[in-house]
């Protein structure tokens, strides 16, 4: 009984404490650089799309809100012909970023994504793709992958020897 009265008194005293509320649109809260907000697709240092349409982000997404379809350009470089994120479903868990083998998909500290119309929360590739490298600078997936694409032949990636001639014995 006494503890309840004490509780009442303690709670009452909070009336004179400092407010913790931040008046949001006027004041902005600090978001850490690695805060998991809006998802973007980045480009590699050469300006090419980093995404290679490997579907790993789509499969790891716990709410299945990423859908993409792959295509290949003339030089054998694979890219997503469509890339759609339904942000009205996204839970900003960052799994897609973790799964991405090319640092293409990244979460940036932008949380101001509210819309009056839910349909506007569906982002297509042109809304997602940015002209920058995001958080990871200098990484270029095709520089470490063995695949030959336009501008990089076999054996030209990092840690690769020139192609072997199979017609020789040694």
């Amino acid at each position: 009984m006494f503890s309840m009265l004490k509780t009442l008194w303690l709670v009452f005293k909070h009336a004179f404490h400092k407010r913790v509320t931040i008046q949001y649109p006027e004041e902005k809260a600090y978001l850490a650089p690695r805060y998991r907000g809006r998802i973007v697709l980045t480009r590699d240092p050469d300006g090419g799309e980093r995404c290679v349409a490997c579907y790993l982000c789509a499969v790891v997404c716990p709410v299945d809100c990423i859908a993409l379809d792959s295509a290949e350009d003339r030089h054998g470089r694979r890219y997503p012909s469509t890339f759609r994120i339904n942000f009205s479903r996204c839970i900003y868990c960052g799994f897609c970023e973790e799964a991405c083998p090319t640092y293409a998909i990244q979460l940036v500290p932008d949380v101001e994504m509210a819309e009056y119309n839910r349909q506007d929360m569906v982002y297509e590739k042109e809304h997602l793709l940015i002209n920058g490298q995001g958080k990871y600078h200098g990484y270029n997936y095709y520089k470490v992958a063995g695949l030959a694409i336009g501008g990089k032949a076999k054996g030209e990636a990092e840690n690769e020897t020139p192609p072997v001639d199979p017609k020789s014995l040694f």
């Binding site: 309840m4 009442l8 303690l10 009452f12 009336a15 404490h17 407010r19 913790v20 008046q23």
Partner: protein
């Protein structure tokens, strides 16, 4: 002025005043809860957010009015009306100032008790008619809770009746001109406070709606203005219980300097604020604890209080 017109005006005044107050209480409660939780609370709509209740009203009137298929339609519709109607009718006997009440009833206390017991049907029937297991559980809880606490709600008031020798609220207020009954009837006051909380199923005794266990209990399936009526009914109920406490234990309108109506209003507001503080501070007990507390502790205390009061009254020789 014609007494009929006078009464009608009074009715009008009380009705408008009460409903406005109930609306304002929405804002008051939110602001106060925020205050005690180091937040700001609603502060966008109107000065200091006071127009939030208008916004709430508009929202409730314009929401989809959904009656779940499988529900008992007439009962479902009737239930929310009961709580508002009974609470409002109970207000007719509250003495606002000397000689000013809509009804001057010689059995005022009993009238209040009768109507408060009627008000329970709202939640019980609402819970049953929704055809939803959580609602039904809420309704069941309400009936058990009410049945337990109404017994000693009546008993706790009997001390006051014995001291004043009347069931008429005006007489009871007048009988407190010397000393507020809260002093001789402190136990009675405490018991009535518990019972009042239980009757209005305010926190911490809001087991019938207990969000964490029953979603929203008896009003899970209610939407739009039907839910709104439960909402308004609850605030009118809080006001009513506060007014009754003030009338029975804290000398009603009596007070120095200020006009009696103001005194009555101020005292009532104090109790309303106290109810809100309770909500902010006290956690909800378990349902079986609530019933055990009621039957095993409060009831014996209420009986003791009654016997002691009666004995003292007899000893003083009326």
């Amino acid at each position: 002025m014609n007494p009929t017109i006078q009464t009608l005006l009074l009715i009008q005044g009380v009705l408008v005043g009460l409903l406005t107050l109930a609306g304002l209480l929405v804002w008051v409660e939110r602001r106060l809860l925020a205050l005690w939780q180091d937040r700001l609370g609603p502060n966008r709509c109107g000065p200091g957010g006071i127009l939030i209740f208008v916004a709430d009203g508009i929202k409730m009137f314009t929401k989809e009015d959904w009656i779940p298929p499988g529900s008992d339609k007439p009962v479902f519709v009737m239930a929310p009306a009961i709580i508002v109607v009974t609470a409002l009718i109970a207000f007719t006997i509250i003495p606002l100032a000397p000689g000013v009440s809509i009804l001057d009833l010689n059995i005022g206390i009993l009238f209040f008790l009768a109507l408060s017991s009627m008000g329970i049907y709202s939640t019980v029937l609402g819970g049953w008619a929704s055809n939803n297991k959580y609602s039904l559980l809420g309704g069941l809880r309400m009936s058990a809770q009410m049945f337990s606490y109404e017994v000693f709600m009546g008993l706790s008031l009997m001390g006051v009746v014995i001291l004043s020798g009347s069931l008429n609220l005006h007489d009871i207020v007048k009988a407190q001109s010397g000393m507020w009954f809260v002093v001789p009837q402190f136990l009675g006051f405490l018991i009535f406070l518990f019972a009042g909380l239980a009757e209005t199923h305010r926190l911490p005794f809001d087991m019938p709606e207990a969000e964490s266990e029953l979603i929203a209990g008896y009003h899970t399936e209610y939407s739009s203005m039907k839910f709104g009526m439960f909402f308004v009914g609850e605030y009118v109920g809080v006001t009513l219980i506060s007014a009754i406490i003030v009338t029975l234990f804290f000398g009603g309108w009596q007070g120095p300097l200020l006009p009696p109506v103001v005194w009555f209003f101020l005292k009532t507001m104090c109790f309303i604020l106290f109810f809100i503080l309770l909500r902010a501070a006290i956690p909800r007990p378990r349902f079986d604890q609530l019933l055990a507390w009621g039957w095993k502790f409060v009831l014996p205390v209420a009986l003791l209080n009654l016997i002691a009061t009666g004995a003292i009254a007899l000893a003083r020789g009326n």
